[in-house]
Amino acid sequence: MIPRHQTILFIVLLAASAIMGVLLWNQLRRAHDRLLRGEDSAPTQAPLVAPAEQATLMVANDADNTVQPRILTLPLPQNPEARARAVLGKLLDLYAAPESTHSVPGGASSIAQVFLIPIADAAGRGTPDGSQLAVVNLAGTFVAGHPSGLETESLTVLSICSTLSANLPRVTEVRFLVDGQPRASLAGHADLTRTYLTSEETVAAPGVRP
């Protein structure tokens, strides 16, 4: 038999717990409303709609080891680095598509950044023709998922270099980074430590027949 005073104490404590729970729930809801009121979700800058322009994508084909030009109309930003990234992103989107002639997973997000750096002479001055070095920073996930093979890796490097050259004529040299770091090869074959010249036969005349 439970004593009477213990029953009363239990009921009082239970009621106090219920009241505290309701109070806490109210406080939580008020704090949430206060945070939402403080956040300004309005855009600080209106999104720019880039005008559609023609871009030349140098699309690789594993079947015949060639890179062929494909002209597409794309919304391209005016900023050269953003433009380079957009063009390469579209190229990698084509490779990630199911019917691709050069199947590589990853898509546009595989191009983390593209930096365009003026090429300086020995005295530190820019060249008269304004030649630029493009540094393409690839995402690590893209490299990890890239199929291994001499042909497929060479075609990926070749198509990136020649697409940059076709759309940004001042780009004469291309280097690659992966997640911001130098890397020995793309997937065990194609050298990523060297500087690729867009005038090289690899880039200028793909699929060359010796």
């Binding site: 093979g149 001499l150 497929t152 060479s154």
Partner: protein, 241 residues
């Protein structure tokens, strides 16, 4: 008078020297009349990957195992045809690209084949270094920049690729040609071609495309051996006066 002076003990060493010189001259004249033995024709086979670097996945096996097995098969064919064959690896051990080039350069070889395999594409993909050609006479050939040493051999490498292309085409193997940047090849001082073997997906191919097809592997190996025989005869013709 002369005999007496020569018989003196002081002249004996001189007499021995004269006799030895006469013998050397006689031997030299005999050897000069026999035709010189043809120089050793050395081929370097570089089975790509190995160790931790397994290369591409080729269905039932990895690229490292395939290239090693194919290299052994090709070495047997070449040895039977009188070639001296140097390999960059004989087991499943990792070999650094610089070490591969080092082995090839010290072998003083007349042809270097870097063996690869892949599942993409069709037939055999032949690659030559993408370095711009440099004439041998434009710099001291004893001192070459390591990562671009192949530049002096690019034209010869293109010629070798042409010979290999002809032999493979003659064997009904589809061939594609291209240029690439491969660290091991770029440091080699010999005519060098990277050979990537992919399944035969041409319409002439019999059965499903696979690298496990023993007949296909034999056809490619025979064609490569025939190409190197042709390359050896071309090289010797070029060196004849």
């Amino acid at each position: 008078m002369w005999d007496e002076e020569v018989d003196r003990p002081a002249f004996r060493p001189l007499r021995r020297t004269l006799i030895a010189l006469a013998l050397i001259v006689a031997c030299a004249s005999v050897f000069a009349q026999t035709p010189p033995a043809p120089p050793r024709f050395v081929v370097v086979l570089d089975a790509a990957h190995g160790g931790d670097d397994s290369g591409a996945r080729l269905g039932s096996e990895n690229e490292e195992a395939f290239t090693l097995a194919f290299g052994v098969r090709l070495r047997s064919l070449l040895t039977a045809r009188g070639f001296a064959v140097v390999t960059t690896r004989e087991s499943d051990a990792g070999v650094d690209p610089a070490r591969r080039a080092d082995i090839a350069d010290h072998a003083n070889s007349q042809a270097c084949l870097s063996l690869h395999a892949a599942m993409s594409g069709s037939g055999v993909h032949l690659f030559v270094s993408s370095l711009a050609p440099v004439q041998n006479t434009s710099f001291d050939a004893r001192f070459l920049p390591w990562k671009t040493a192949q530049a002096a051999w690019v034209m010869r490498s293109i010629s070798l690729a042409g010979v290999v292309n002809s032999a493979l085409s003659h064997a009904n193997v589809p061939v594609t040609l291209g240029r690439t940047a491969l660290p091991a090849i770029d440091s080699m001082t010999c005519p060098a071609v990277a050979v990537e073997i992919a399944p035969d997906r041409s319409s002439d191919a019999q059965g499903p495309a696979s690298l496990d097809d023993a007949d296909y592997q034999a056809r490619v190996a025979d064609a490569l051996a025939a190409a190197l025989v042709e390359w050896r005869s071309e090289t010797r013709e070029d060196h004849q006066p």
